[in-house]
Symmetry: C2
Subunit: 164 residues, 2 copies
Amino acid sequence: MAAARTIAETEGWSAVTVRRLAAAIGYSQPVLYQHFPRGRPEIIAAVARSGFAQLEELVAGADDPDALAQTARAYLTFAREHAGLYTAMFEMPSLNRFASSQTPPELRRGFDALVAVLGRGPGADTRAELFWSMLHGVAVLERDRRLPAAQREERIAEIARLFS
Amino acid sequence: MAAARTIAETEGWSAVTVRRLAAAIGYSQPVLYQHFPRGRPEIIAAVARSGFAQLEELVAGADDPDALAQTARAYLTFAREHAGLYTAMFEMPSLNRFASSQTPPELRRGFDALVAVLGRGPGADTRAELFWSMLHGVAVLERDRRLPAAQREERIAEIARLFS
DNA sequence: CAGACGAATCTAGCATTGCTAGGCTAGGGG
DNA sequence: CCCCTAGCCTAGCAATGCTAGATTCGTCTG
C-alpha cells in the first residue's frame, strides 16, 4: 500500500501496475494476489480507505473560533498535497461501496466529523452534505486548474461566509 | 464519438476499447488512428468537449424567476442522466487542458453562462466559481451514493438559498 | 530419523489492451 | 500503360491484469 501510494503520488495511478508494485516490494506478482485476492482494484481500495482515515483525523482536529475556514483550508490542503491519494478516494473505479451495509466505517466517520463542525439544528445534515460537496468540488476543480490558484484564500473565506 | 458515448453510458469507459469502437463503426482499428492520431485519449477528450457544449446550452437556457434552483436542477439532472459523459468531462485523464492558451472554447463558455445566472457585482466571479464547485461536488457525491438520493430537491433548495 | 504435509514463493503463460508497421486495392494523372 | 496517392486492412509488438502449476523450506508425524 505504501508503495502504491508513493508511485501514484509521483507518476499517477496508471503507473501503479502489479508488476511495478511487485518489484517495489521485492516479491513476485502472485504474492500480491494472496494478500489482495481481488487484485489491483482491492489494493487501490485499501489505499483509499487509509486516505479516508487520514482525512478524518485532519477534519476532526479543527476546533477553533472560525472552525469553518479552518476545516475548509485543511480539507483543500489535504486534497492538494495528496492528489494521488485523493483521486483514489473519490475518482477511481473502486471496490469501496457507499450507502450499503458493507460500507467501511472509515468512510462514515469523516462525514460525522464534518457534521460536528457545522453544528446541530434543523437541516444540519443537508448543510453538512453541501459543505462537503462544496469542498470536494473546489478540490477537484482547483486541481484541474479550472479555478485560479491565486484566489484560494478568497474562496475559503467566501465558503466560510456562505455556511456561517 | 457517438459509439464511444453509447458504450461508455451503458458499460462504463473501461469497455470503450479501440477494438470495440472499430467493430462498432465497421472499420479496422488503424482508421481510428487516422482521425484521432493521439488515439483513445483523444477520442475521450473529443467526447468530453461535446459534453461541455451540451452542458452550456442547458445552463444558458435557464432564465426563470428562480434561475438558481432551475440551473442547479438542470446541471444535476444532466450529470445524472449522462453519467458516462460527465465522467469523461471531469474525471478522466484527458488531453483537455484548462487555464492554458490551448483551452478549447467550449470549456470556457459554460462557466460564463454560470456567471450570468449569478449576476454581476463585486466578487461575482468567486461566487460563480463556488456555485459551479458546489454543483460538481453534489453531482459526483450523489452519483457515488455518498449523498442520499431522497433529499435531492431539498439540497437544490438549500443551494439556491445559500447563493441567493 | 525418514517421510509427508502445508505455507510461501516463483516461473511461465494466457487473454486483452493501446498502438503501429507494412502491404493491398482502387482510381485518377502522366 | 504505368505510377502515385488515399484509404483501408492484416498482422504483430510490448505492456497489462491475472493465474496455473511447480519448487522450496520448515514443521509435524510415525
